[in-house]
């Protein structure tokens, strides 16, 4: 070490600097997640999956010999706070940033990570996230432009519906999903006869169900968050809705099924990630998660877990902690469970940061999610 370098290190130590940049035995990968507010369930699942992966990797010596150091900062499910938290961690020059999960927060944060040239591994699903030309944002689950065609095909070919009602939550996630879904319906000549917007955290769905029932559609597509899904399903059952209820992962998760207390039976839909997937590695992960945290992991837990293993694999491929090199290498990369068991399912990231992997068609039978078909990667 040169004399000036030694002097700087001594001064830094004397001042008590504990900047993660200086701590060479660790790699600073902060997480910005929804630990409170409306997104707490999603954020907590994501965090717990992420912590599981970090503990496993650190237990085996870390990434390239460095332990992962991940402080978790709470966005309070608010895009403004998320941005402030991100700004705070960017000052410490992170290698990669994990989170957030809420699309609204991702859309606000990604401009900062792009500017700082720091890769951001996010849980958001809004289509717009990867349509803004960003080169540092990477998804951990399907964007809506990938998942909606799958459910649209099922509505046309499986349900053979000519008309459909859509119920969506009025936030970035819901609006993005609704817009993509309506476009996919138009492309298949299926008429949207009711278009009902709801609020995040809404408790009473009686008015919405009355409107949907009056539309008399062949199928009903529900695109709201988990707890609202459960409340909607209970009201739909109460009002005797007979049309097939279809949705995405947020309608078929075990938490929704438990909260709906019997009202979820018969619900069908496209499931991007689930611990009930007919893949042994995923099921084993689900069991380990439940044993450690004492609740059933939802899709966000899988996102958090695989996000860390994606970082590990890409870093080991490039052989150094270089944020720019990471982003370049991750685009177009395919990670298989054979190369990296923690990735659980083969996944490919395209030039926009969108992820492609197998997904599933599920149905709720006797209070349990049952996978009825496995859908191949879109790229296959």
């Amino acid at each position: 070490m040169s004399r000036s370098g030694l002097f700087a290190a001594v001064v830094a130590a004397g001042l008590g600097f504990t900047s993660p940049v200086l701590a060479q035995s660790t790699v600073y990968i902060p997480a910005i997640l929804e630990l409170s507010g409306a997104g707490a369930v999603s954020g907590t699942n994501f965090r717990d999956g992420m912590l599981m992966a970090i503990d496993e990797i650190n237990g085996k010596g870390g990434i390239l010999g460095r332990k992962i150091e991940t402080p978790v900062l709470d966005t309070q499910s608010d895009a403004g706070i998320s941005r402030a938290q991100l700004q705070k961690v960017l000052d410490n020059k992170p290698y990669v940033v994990i989170g957030p999960v809420f699309s609204g927060s991702v859309l606000v944060d990604m401009a900062l990570t792009q500017q700082a040239e720091i890769p951001e591994i996010v849980g958001g699903e809004a289509a717009a996230i990867t349509q803004k030309g960003g080169t540092y944002v990477f998804r951990t689950s399907f964007g809506q432009q990938f998942s909606m065609p799958k459910i649209a095909n099922y509505i046309r070919d499986g349900i053979k519906a000519k008309t459909v009602a859509v119920l969506w939550v009025n936030n970035d996630f819901g609006k993005g999903g609704r817009d993509t879904f309506v476009k996919e319906m138009a492309a298949r000549n299926i008429k949207v006869v009711a278009d009902v917007s709801t609020e995040s955290g809404q408790a009473d769905f009686s008015a919405d169900v009355v409107k949907i029932k009056a539309a008399n559609a062949d199928a009903i597509f529900v695109y709201v968050n988990e707890e609202e899904s459960a409340r909607f399903l209970r009201e739909a059952k109460k009002q005797g809705i007979k049309a097939p209820l279809l949705g995405e992962t947020t309608l078929l998760g075990q938490k929704v099924i438990d909260l709906a207390q019997g009202a979820a039976d018969g619900v069908r839909g496209h499931v991007g990630l689930t611990v009930d997937a007919p893949i042994p590695a995923v099921q084993q992960f689900g069991e380990k998660f439940k044993k450690r945290f004492n609740y059933v992991c939802d899709h966000n837990g899988i996102k958090g877990y695989t996000a860390v293993y994606m970082i590990k694999h890409v870093t080991e491929k490039i052989g150094k902690f270089d944020s720019k090199a990471f982003a370049q290498a991750a685009h177009g990369m395919t990670i298989t469970p054979k190369d990296e068991p923690g990735i659980l399912m083969e996944a490919t990231w395209d030039k926009n940061g969108d992820i492609d992997r197998e997904s599933f068609l599920g149905e709720v039978v006797n209070g349990k999610q049952k996978i009825v078909a496995t859908l191949p990667k879109l790229g296959k």
Partner: protein, 291 residues
């Protein structure tokens, strides 16, 4: 018509719960000038008391009783002794800020000590429906309505037909004169806090099967009840009841017949109209202040 009846009953049931919470607001304001911004969290918490008791093995009825008692002690007695009494001597504003801090503390504590995830909460009546003129009316909504109305009637009886109630009213109207007349003002104020503990516990038991027990429930409930109290009249119990019912019905009917996207705006439009045209609230009294 069937849909209208359905929406009306559902709105009445929700409105009746808002009314219970709003009544608590007005009671505390009238007797001690306490504006409790943690009132929504006060409704959220008893559900977790009950769930915790059930987790320890108590049957639902016993857990409900424990939840009710804990609400009276923690949200009534301790709230007054630990937060209100020390802060009130510094004026209304520090107390308001303290209750905002308390609401954040209660919310985060429920999340950390119980769970961030919504929990199913047992309903008082089975989830069956009645068919009335073609409208599907939930037995649960009717039970909520009946219990809320019975609670309000009991409170009305207590306040207007008993000596204790008249003493409480005297305390609210003129504490100095009430004290001269020998009414134990401090005790009367304490009783209103205890009554608020009962009201929020009942509201919690009624709303949690519909909302699911979740640490964020207080946010919407607190705002709804606050709006209801202002619309109806902050200084009148009957005003709070009217305000709650108006909000419940308005929410359902506006979402179904006007716009579901702007349903959150309609209560605020009513609030603005009330403030402009009748600032004391629909049933409130004009209060004058002199210096």
């Amino acid at each position: 018509m069937a849909s209208f009846i359905q929406l009306l009953v559902s709105g009445l049931a929700t409105g009746a719960i808002y009314a219970l919470i709003a009544v608590g607001f007005t009671l505390l304001w009238q007797t001690s000038q306490t504006i409790n911004f943690a009132q929504g969290e006060f409704v959220m918490l008893p559900a977790f008391f009950i769930l915790a008791a059930m987790n320890l093995g108590a049957p639902f009825w016993l857990a409900t009783l424990i939840g009710l008692l804990l609400s009276i002690v923690v949200l009534g007695l301790l709230f007054k002794l630990i937060i209100v009494d020390p802060m009130l001597r510094y004026g209304v504003l520090p107390l308001v800020i303290s209750t905002i801090a308390l609401s954040l503390f209660l919310k985060e504590a429920a999340k950390d000590f119980y769970s961030s995830q919504a929990q199913p909460f047992p309903a008082l009546v089975p989830a069956t429906d009645l068919n009335v003129f073609g409208a599907v009316i939930s037995l649960q909504s009717l039970a909520v309505l009946a219990i809320a109305v019975a609670t309000v009637l009991a409170l009305h009886f207590l306040l207007n037909k008993t000596r204790l109630g008249r003493c409480m009213q005297a305390t609210a109207q003129n504490p100095t004169l009430a004290r001269i007349l020998g009414i134990p003002v401090e005790r009367m104020v304490l009783y209103t806090f205890l009554i608020n503990g009962v009201l929020v516990a009942i509201a919690s038991i009624l709303i949690s099967p519909i909302y699911l027990a979740k640490f964020t429930n207080g946010e919407t409930l607190g705002i709804a009840a606050f709006l209801a109290a202002i619309i109806g009249g902050f200084n009148q119990v009957r005003g709070a009841i009217l305000g709650g019912v108006i909000l419940g019905i308005l929410d359902n009917l506006s979402a179904a017949y006007l716009s579901s996207q702007y349903r959150g705006a309609f209560p605020l439009i009513i609030l603005i109209a009330v403030i402009l045209l009748r600032p004391q609230g629909l049933l409130g009294r004009v209060e004058e202040r002199t210096v």
